[in-house]
Amino acid sequence: MTLKQTPSQTVGPYFAYGLTPEQYGYEYKSLFGPLLAGPEARGEHIRLTGRVFDGDGVPVNDAMIEILQPDADGHFVASSSEARASDFRGFGRCGTGTHASLHFWFDTVKPGAAAPGEAPHIDVIVTMRGMLSHAFTRVYFEDEAEANARDPVLAALPPERRATLVARREQHPGGAAYRFDIRMQGPKETVFFDL
């Protein structure tokens, strides 16, 4: 080690026109957005949605959520050309400030397990005004109870905290939806990972 890491700083309140411009209506192309899976993508098409709550239980209107996941077969997209060919992007970004209910959403496919013994999950990066460093968390799926019970990461958590990582399955007009709320603090504080 010859150099030291550059310190993190907050994303602040004004990231929208730089990082999520199309979602917020700015005339600047978005490199990443809420759409991970186009119509041709294989697998079960789902919507992942949720809100971010601060320590007072108030929904946050200026958080930015990024997600990373494999495709329905558990394969991570390895190149832009592969993403185009499969109509599946594998990575998405959404701010919480464009809907009245302050939710984020991603249109994607339900991921397959990426490795033997792992339950299907989505990796999440959470950042917002008032966070000086981003935080990592994960989305597991309520209807994967058997796989979840065997998953080594979930198993290593105190049982009462596991539920903070498990998304609830609901229906929405387009099909299956999973709800994953993120609580920054409090008795149900979401599990955040150091990785």
Partner: protein, 244 residues
């Protein structure tokens, strides 16, 4: 055919951890918004294999030709007001190796200290020829380069008559999912740094790395712009194997 940035072969070396002696704490009460928004429980360690995932994928075809020139990428009928500046530097890992082909996204206030963002209500003028957002990929030496105007200071409600120092926001991914970094670049000699709880939230001895250096030699054309150099160090392989 545009080059594809990823994938790379998986690396065998573990990724160095987040160096919490270099990063701010989640809750830093002088920056009031952290009090209700920073996680309070200890982070749960996750196995290194997950940290080294190469993601996301993007390519040169995603970057527009004017994306790194903020003086032109939103111009309507002229040039933006303000001091023209070149902002350049290298993205490196802790071993000093360049991080090539990595995405650097920036956003900033205009020269008057006003952000285009709709919720910015600061009573300063918008500039019809300036958006304030840019991006580029680093070259083989890890170098990025932007042409922009120097952002102004602006007031914020954190404390009475608080003003943010001039700064540019940076967002980077680096080589790995876990090397993600969102940070801010400041300007040398800014007297507001001493009063800024966001800058001060980074530990002493680390926060100084957020301040760019004046370097007039990076501009090229004399008399065209001021130059500022800002190197960024991301997490990388934990150690350099013998022979590299």
């Amino acid at each position: 055919m545009a080059a594809v940035v990823s994938p790379h072969a998986p690396v065998a070396e573990p990724l160095s951890p987040r160096d919490w002696a270099s990063h701010p704490p989640y809750v830093y009460p002088a920056y009031k918004s952290t009090i209700k928004r920073g996680p309070t429980r200890p982070l749960v360690p996750l196995a290194d294999a997950h940290a080294r995932r190469r993601a996301p994928v993007y390519g040169h075809e995603d970057i527009g030709p004017l994306d790194s020139d903020l003086t032109k990428n939103a111009a309507r009928n002229g040039e933006p007001l303000g001091e023209r500046i070149v902002v350049t530097g290298r993205v490196l890992d802790e071993g000093g190796r360049p991080v090539a082909n990595t995405l650097v996204e920036i956003w900033q206030a205009n020269a008057a200290g006003r952000y285009v963002h709709k919720v910015d209500q600061h009573h300063a003028p918008l500039d019809p020829n300036f958006l304030g957002a840019g991006r580029c990929l680093t070259d083989a030496q890890g170098r990025y380069r932007f042409l922009t105007v120097k952002p102004g200071a602006y007031p914020w409600g954190n404390h009475p008559n608080g003003w943010r120092p001039n700064h540019i926001h940076f967002s980077l991914f680096g080589e790995y999912f876990a090397s993600r970094l969102v940070t801010q670049m400041f300007f040398p000699g800014d007297p507001l740094l001493a009063f800024d709880p966001i800058y001060q939230s980074a530990p002493e001895g680390a926060r100084e790395r957020l301040v760019s250096q004046l370097n007039l030699d990076v501009v090229g054309e004399p008399g065209f712009a001021l130059g500022f150099e800002f190197d960024i160090v991301l997490r990388g392989a934990a150690q350099t194997p013998m022979g590299r």
